[in-house]
Subunit: 696 residues, 2 copies
Amino acid sequence: MHFVCRITLLLAVGLALTAFAAAARGDEGMWLFNAPPTQYLKDKYDFDASKKWLTHVQKSSVRFNSGGSGSFVSAGGLVLTNHHVGLDALQKLSNLRKKDYVTDGFYARSRADEFKCEGMELNVLMEIRVVTDRVKAAVKADLSSEKAALARRAVINQIEKEAAEETKLKPQVVTLFQGGEYHLYLFKKYTDVRLVFAPEQQIAFYGGDPDNFEYPRFDLDICLFRVYENDKPAEVKDYLKWASKPVKEGDLIFVSGHPGRTSRLNTVAELEYLRDIGYPFLMQRLNRLEVLLSTFSERSEENRRQAKEYYFSVQNSRKARLGGLQALLDPALMDAKRKEEARLKAGAEKDDKLKDTLSAWGRVAGAQKVRAANIRRYTLLEGGSGFNSDLFSYARTLVRAAAESAKPNGERLREYSESSLESLQEQLFAEEEIYPEFEIAKLSDAFMFLSAELGHDSPLVKKVLAGKTPGDRARALVEGSKLAKANVRKELYKGGADAIAASKDPLIELARLVDPEARAVRKVIETEVDEVSRQAYAQIAQVKFALDGTKTYPDATFTLRLSFGPVKGYEEAGKKVPYTTTFAGMYERARENKNRPPFDLPERWVKAKDKLDLKAPLNFVSTADIIGGNSGSPVINRDAEFVGIIFDGNIQSLMLDFAYSDVQARAVSVDAQGILEALRKVYDAGALADELTGKK
Amino acid sequence: MHFVCRITLLLAVGLALTAFAAAARGDEGMWLFNAPPTQYLKDKYDFDASKKWLTHVQKSSVRFNSGGSGSFVSAGGLVLTNHHVGLDALQKLSNLRKKDYVTDGFYARSRADEFKCEGMELNVLMEIRVVTDRVKAAVKADLSSEKAALARRAVINQIEKEAAEETKLKPQVVTLFQGGEYHLYLFKKYTDVRLVFAPEQQIAFYGGDPDNFEYPRFDLDICLFRVYENDKPAEVKDYLKWASKPVKEGDLIFVSGHPGRTSRLNTVAELEYLRDIGYPFLMQRLNRLEVLLSTFSERSEENRRQAKEYYFSVQNSRKARLGGLQALLDPALMDAKRKEEARLKAGAEKDDKLKDTLSAWGRVAGAQKVRAANIRRYTLLEGGSGFNSDLFSYARTLVRAAAESAKPNGERLREYSESSLESLQEQLFAEEEIYPEFEIAKLSDAFMFLSAELGHDSPLVKKVLAGKTPGDRARALVEGSKLAKANVRKELYKGGADAIAASKDPLIELARLVDPEARAVRKVIETEVDEVSRQAYAQIAQVKFALDGTKTYPDATFTLRLSFGPVKGYEEAGKKVPYTTTFAGMYERARENKNRPPFDLPERWVKAKDKLDLKAPLNFVSTADIIGGNSGSPVINRDAEFVGIIFDGNIQSLMLDFAYSDVQARAVSVDAQGILEALRKVYDAGALADELTGKK
C-alpha cells in the first residue's frame, strides 16, 4: 500500500521547453465531461460532441483505483488497460497461485480460467452533480483555518453520505480549480474483477527504463480483465466498439481517462516551492528507494521477483519527476508563469468586485512556507516514508479505522468516512502475499531515513527504535507481527477500539505510538496549507473566470477527463519522427541491441515473426493532452470506436505537468490493429480477438 | 579527479556489533612502523619484529596515490596491487589505445608491450622523522583559530620544503592522533609506471556488487605494474619473496598497507555528527550518483564503458558507508564510546596537570556544530559536488595554481605548496580521454543538486546557471571548453595568473566565478572546525597517553601501517565459515547462479577448468585490522614472504571504522598460490609466474 504512483505518465522534461511559451495553446485541455469544449470542437474540427456521444464515452471509461485508466471493450464486461496498470494484480495473483504471470504472461482460454484479483476495485462514473454552492456555504468566511477545514470536511462527508444512501453508488466530492468548484462524482463500483489476458512483461515494457518516456516505441502494453456481477460476467451497455480501420496521420482522436495531477494553475510561489523543496525532496526519496530496491533485487532471482513491481514504479516515478524538476528549472517557464500571474493580478486590480482577491497570492505563498517547514515530517510520519512497509500500512489502517469509526461521520478523516469504509475493508481483508525479508529491508531503510531526518536522539525516533539498530528493530517488528494474515486483520478490525487497544502485535503498538504525532503534522498541513490554499485558489479562480470566462478546464484530479488532438509525428534534432511504428521496427530494435536485456524479445515473439504482418502498426503518437493516470485510457475516433490505448508520453511530454505544448510533446498509444495482430498470431487468442471485434 | 574513494575497504556494518563491546582487544591495531607493538608480538606470538624486518617490509610496500596499496614482488620492479586499484589506469590506457583491457584483461608478453600509465604515481616510504615539537612550537597557544591555522600551515609547508631540498624525496607532514603528533614522511616517488598484467574485471570482481563486502569469495582481484627509471625497469632492493607454501588456519600473518581513515578516537560528539549529519548527507549524494550512473550506463554499451569505473566506485562506497552508518546507529557502540569518554574525563579530572584539557571535548562538540552548518555548502562548492566533472576539476586546479603560486610557500593552500607542485603538474598534464556526454550528464546533475541545496534564487546559483536550465548550461560549458586537451591545460598553467585572468574558456570563467565563495567556506571549515578540533584532540591525546601510555596506534591516515593476526575462519548464524575458498567453489558459485551476471565466468576460465587444480586456494580470511585504503596490501608470513593480497573485508568488518573486533570481522585476501595457479594455467603467463617466484 506504499503510495508511489505507478502510472507511466506523470511529469515533464524541459527539452523543448523554450518552444512552449511561443506555441499557440492549440488542442490543450483535460476537459470535464460536464463542461466539454463543444464550441472549439465544432469550430476547429467540425465535430459535434453530443450529449449522447459524451455519455456513452463516459460510461465506457473505467478508473482503476490502483492508479490508472481503462475502458469497457465488449458487451461481456471485458476491460482493457495497460499491462503496467494491471501489474500489481498480476503480481499478487502470481503469488497466490505460485505462478509467474508477470514473466510468462497469461491467457484464460475459458471463463473458468479467469481468476479473481483480490482487493481490486474498478469505478465507472455514472453522474456528476455540481455542489460548489453547498460546500462554500458551509464554510463561513469568518472561520479560522482550523474550523474552516473541519467544516469543509463535515459538509463533504455529509454530501457523500446522503448521495450514497440515495443512489447506492460510490460518491466522491472532487475539488476542482484548486478550490474554485466542487463536484459530486457518483461511481458504479466493480469489485469482482478477473484476469483474462496479459502478455509477457518483456514485451509489454519492451526497452525497459532506457526506453521509458521515449519514442519511437515498440510496446504491447496491454492487459485484459473482465468484471463480474453475481459470479457472472457483467452485461455492459456502454462499451467501445473496435475500429475496423487503423488511424492515419491527421485523424482527430479523443482520449477519455483519468489524468492524475497537473500543476498548471499553481501560483508562482507554489511552483517555486515545488522547484526548491517539493521535487528535490521527492527525488531524494526516489533515489534512495531505487538504490535500496536495486541492491535487494540483485541478491537473488526470488528477491528480484518480489521487488519487481515496486522497483519499476520507483524507476518510472524517478524518470518522470526528474523531467518535472527540469521543467521547473527552466527560466522560460517561470517567466511565462510570472507574466500570467501579473495579468491576473492586474485584472483583479481593475475590477472593484475582485479587489479583495488580491491577497490570495500572498496567502498561497504563506502556505508554501508552512509546507516547506513541515513537508519532511509530514512525508515521514503521515506519508509513510518513515515506516515503509505493507505491514505497517495495515497496522495504521486498523488503528485509525478503530478511532475514526467511533466519531460522527463529519469529523472523520476523509478516508474513513462512512462512504469510504466499504472499499477500505475490501482492500484490508484481501489475501496478499507478504515477503518478510522484503518488508524488513524496506522498514529498516525507512527507519534510517527517519533517524536521519528527525534526528537519532529525537524522542520520537528513540521511541520508534526502542534501543535497537534500525535493522534489528525492523526484524523484530516484522517477525513478531501477525498482520500478514488476512483473518488476523479482519478480527482486529471487527474488534474495534477495544481490540486495538488490547493488541500486543508490535506493529499495532508502533502504529499507536506514532499516531498522535502523525495526526498532528497532518493537521498542520490540512489546516494551514491545504485549507488556506483552497480558499485562496478559489479567489484566484474567480479572477480567472471573470477575465477568461468559465470555458476552461481545471488541473487534473484523477477524475474523468476528455482530451483530443490529431494523430501526428514531430521533428526532433532536424529529423522527422513518424507518427507510427511497426512490428518490423520492433524486431529491428532487438537486432541492433544484440537482443540484450531490456531489448530482448520473448521466445514466443521470436518464433512468431514469420506469421506476423510486419508492416502492421504497433504504437502511434498524438497531441492529446495527457499526464500520469492516463495510462490505459482508450483512444477513440469520431465515432467513439476504439483505435488505441495510451501507455506513455515521450520525453518532451514530461513538461505537460506545468504547461501544454503540441510542438514535440506526444501521447504514445498501442494501436488497436496491432493488438489484434498480436492476439491472433502470437498468442493464439483468436477467441479473445473475436470478442473484441464483436465477431461472436 | 572526482573524489570518491574507490577503495574496497572503507567502512563498517553493525551486524555483529554487540559482540565488540565484550570482545577482548586481541590483535587490534594499525601500527606505525616507527612505533610497532614489539612487546605484544614477542609475548603473544614469540615473534621478533626486528628493525631489519620492519625496514625491509616498509620499503617493499607501495602507496598508490589514487587510493590504494601494493608491494614490490620482484627485483625487476614488479608491483602487485588489486585490479580495482589499477582500474582507473586500466580504463585510461584502454581509452588511449582504443582497447578494452578492463573487460578483456591484459598481459604484456615482452617489456616492449608494457605500456606507460599516464599520470600514475607510486610512493615508497623511505624514512619517518618526528616533528611534533617543531609544529607545536610554531603554533603559539594564544593565537586565534585563524592565525593558528595559518601558522600551522606555514610551519608544515616549511618543514616539507626543507626536507625536499635536503633529501630530494617527496615529503609529507602527517597529522597523527587527530593532532597529538606530527611525523614527517619521506617518499621515493615513481612516475613511470607500466601495465604488465590484469585479468578480466569479470573474474577480478567476480560476484559484483551483491558479493562485494561478503565472504566466502572467489575473486582474482590482482593487477601487476612495473616501475621504470630512466626508461628501464627499476632495480629494486627491497621486495617481497613469494612464499613457497600456502597459509593454513592459525598462521600468524602481517598486513603492510595504507588504511585510509578510521574514526576510533573520535569523541562522542563527532561520532554523533557523523551519524546524524555527515553519513546521511554522504548517503544522499551516493544514492543520487548511483542512480545517475546507472541510468547513464543503461543507455548504451559505450556509455556503460565510460561510466564503469566511477559507477563501481560509487556502488562500493555506498555499500561501505551504509555499513558505517549502521554501526553508528547501534546504541551498543555509542554506549561503549560514552564509557570510554567518561573514563578519559575522569582521568583528566584527577590529574592537576591535565585539568586544563577538560574543555577539549566541549570544543570538539562546538566544532561539529560549525561543521553541520557548513558541510553542505562546503561539499558543493569546495568538495566539488556542485560541479561534478573532470573538466571543472582541471579548471579549478588551473585557477588556483595561478593564484597560489604567486604567494609565499607558507601561505599557500596545502595542495599547492612547493613540494606538492611536481605531482600536481604530472596529473594535470597527463593525457586523459574526456567524454563530453558523460561530462554533461554529471555536470547537469551537479547543477540540479547545487540548485536544490543552495536555492535556485540564491545569487551564486543564478551566476552559475547564467539564465539557463542546468542541462543547457552544462552542455554550453562542456562544448565550449578546450580543457580536454592536455596541451591547452599546460599552456594555461605556464601562462600563470595573466593567462588565467585573460582566459575566455567558459569553465575557467566558472571556476574563477565560484572561487571566492569556495575559498570562504573552506576557510570556515579549516579554521573553525579542523584547527579547533586539532588543538582539542591534541589535548585528549595527552590524556590518553597519560592514562594508557604511548604504546598505542593513531587512527588511519592513508599512511603506512602494520596490522597482524591469525588466518582464521569464523562462525555465522551457527555455521562455520572456512578460512579459505578454492577454484572448485568458484565454479560451483557460477553453476548455482546459472552463470547469470555478475556470476558468469570469463570464457578463458570456462575453458581452463580441466587444467586447473580445483582444490588450490583462491581466497582466505584473517583477523588483521584493516580498512579502506588497505586494498592491495601484501599479506606476509613471519619470514616476510608474500602469502596473499588484501582485497576486501567481509560485511562484519565494516564496523572497523569505529572499533576493532575479531569475532566475525575478517580481512579477505587472494591467496598467493591461487595467483600462480591462475597465471600459469588460465593466462599462459608462466614467464610472469617465474619472475614472481624468482625462477628466472
